[in-house]
């Protein structure tokens, strides 16, 4: 029944929206991205299973770059700030986001952490996502690079089982390669084949936080991304300037 006269008549009104369900997250991610560009921060969204070695990788990264780079981190976990404590102990200022029951970080949570000075004075911000190969994959955080850590014991077919996560990765790090002598059945070819079927431009790097294998190449990847991200930011800024000038004309 209608509220006004009680006649009960309603009409069906179709409304076309064609709007991404993640539109709100996308807007906040764009805001974060603009913030990173303005402050010349390379933001890396680091994802992977629980125990893939994400925190150990960042510890090894801190040891490798020393004082040549100013690193910072945001760590996401359901409970505790243990990862952030570990990172602080190797000199990486780290802000912990405890998500409670949420299985992923979203752009809003990262934005909130940035307001808590999470990236203050840093030139590189690692966003260590909640350990999970499913949910974090669909949330853009405003990062310049997506890196997925996959440890040698997880199985070569993981990319085929979790294609959404691997599809968007700029780099896959095969971690804990120091364990390979104990894993005679590990098949690197099978892993490369699986990646080729889910990633258009597969890129795989073997690393070990323990032995230091591949860490120099990983740091080189970050430096290359820094150059690319700066170029993208500059062309975006030029495009916006051009647009505002043509609008003004």
């Amino acid at each position: 029944m209608c509220d006004t006269c009680g006649c009960g008549d309603t009409k069906l009104v179709p409304v076309e929206l064609h709007e991404r369900l993640l539109a709100g997250n996308d807007r906040m991610a764009a805001h974060n991205r603009a913030h990173f560009a303005k402050h010349r921060v390379l933001a890396v969204n680091l994802m992977g299973s629980p125990g893939a070695g994400k925190t150990a990788l960042l510890e090894a990264t801190a040891r490798a770059v020393g004082t040549s780079r100013r690193l910072a981190a945001i760590t996401g976990d359901l409970e505790t700030d243990r990862d952030a404590v570990r990172l602080r102990s190797v000199g990486i200022p780290a802000e912990a986001i405890t998500t409670g029951s949420a299985c992923h970080l979203d752009a809003d949570m990262v934005h909130h952490a940035l307001h808590h000075d999470a990236a203050h004075g840093a030139d590189t911000l690692f966003i260590e996502n909640v350990g999970n190969l499913v949910c974090p994959a669909i949330y853009d955080l405003g990062q310049a690079a997506i890196v997925v850590a996959l440890s040698v014991t997880e199985g070569e077919d993981k990319p085929l089982k979790y294609p959404v996560m691997f599809r968007k990765a700029d780099l896959v790090l095969l971690t804990k390669v120091d364990l390979l002598p104990a894993l005679p059945d590990f098949d690197r070819g099978a892993l490369e084949e699986a990646l080729a079927r889910v990633m258009p431009a597969p890129r795989l790097l073997e690393v070990s936080a323990r032995s230091g294998t591949g860490i120099a190449e990983w740091v080189a990847f970050l430096e290359a991304r820094r150059v690319t991200a700066a170029g993208v930011a500059a062309s975006r800024a030029a495009h916006e300037t051009h647009q505002s000038m043509t609008r003004g004309a």
Partner: protein, 116 residues
């Protein structure tokens, strides 16, 4: 279980739209969802079923429209065979996803008092 946070955002977005049209209820919701969207359709329906209670969407059906996965070569337009390596067999260039990752609120149908 990010489907719950997505369903929550979905209901909030629809309610905002419904109010702006003076609707008394939402009749139908159509969402397009692809296999590479990272969202499990059944879980989204379940989550929506729980979260719509007490909202303008309480009686609204959630219709899911599918979408096929299409990988295409940007240079020559070749559509790749699914399950093969994601580079063009002719050009050797990385393919681009041309469909299959949609997660889109396409349209809603609102019940609006006839004389409004």
């Amino acid at each position: 279980m990010h489907e719950y946070s997505l369903a929550q955002a979905l209901v909030a977005r629809i309610e905002r739209e419904a109010r702006s049209h003076g609707a008394s209820a939402v009749h139908r919701v159509v969402v397009r969802i692809g296999p590479l969207s990272g969202v499990e359709p059944d879980l989204l329906v379940t989550a929506y079923g729980h979260l719509r209670a007490g909202t303008l969407c309480a009686e609204a059906e959630l219709d899911l429209a599918g979408e096929d996965v299409v990988w295409r070569c940007e240079a020559c337009g070749t559509v790749l065979i699914l399950g093969s390596a994601l580079c063009c067999p002719d050009c050797g260039l990385p393919a681009r996803l041309a469909g299959g990752d949609a997660l889109v609120l396409e349209r809603i149908e609102l019940e609006v008092p006839a004389h409004v």
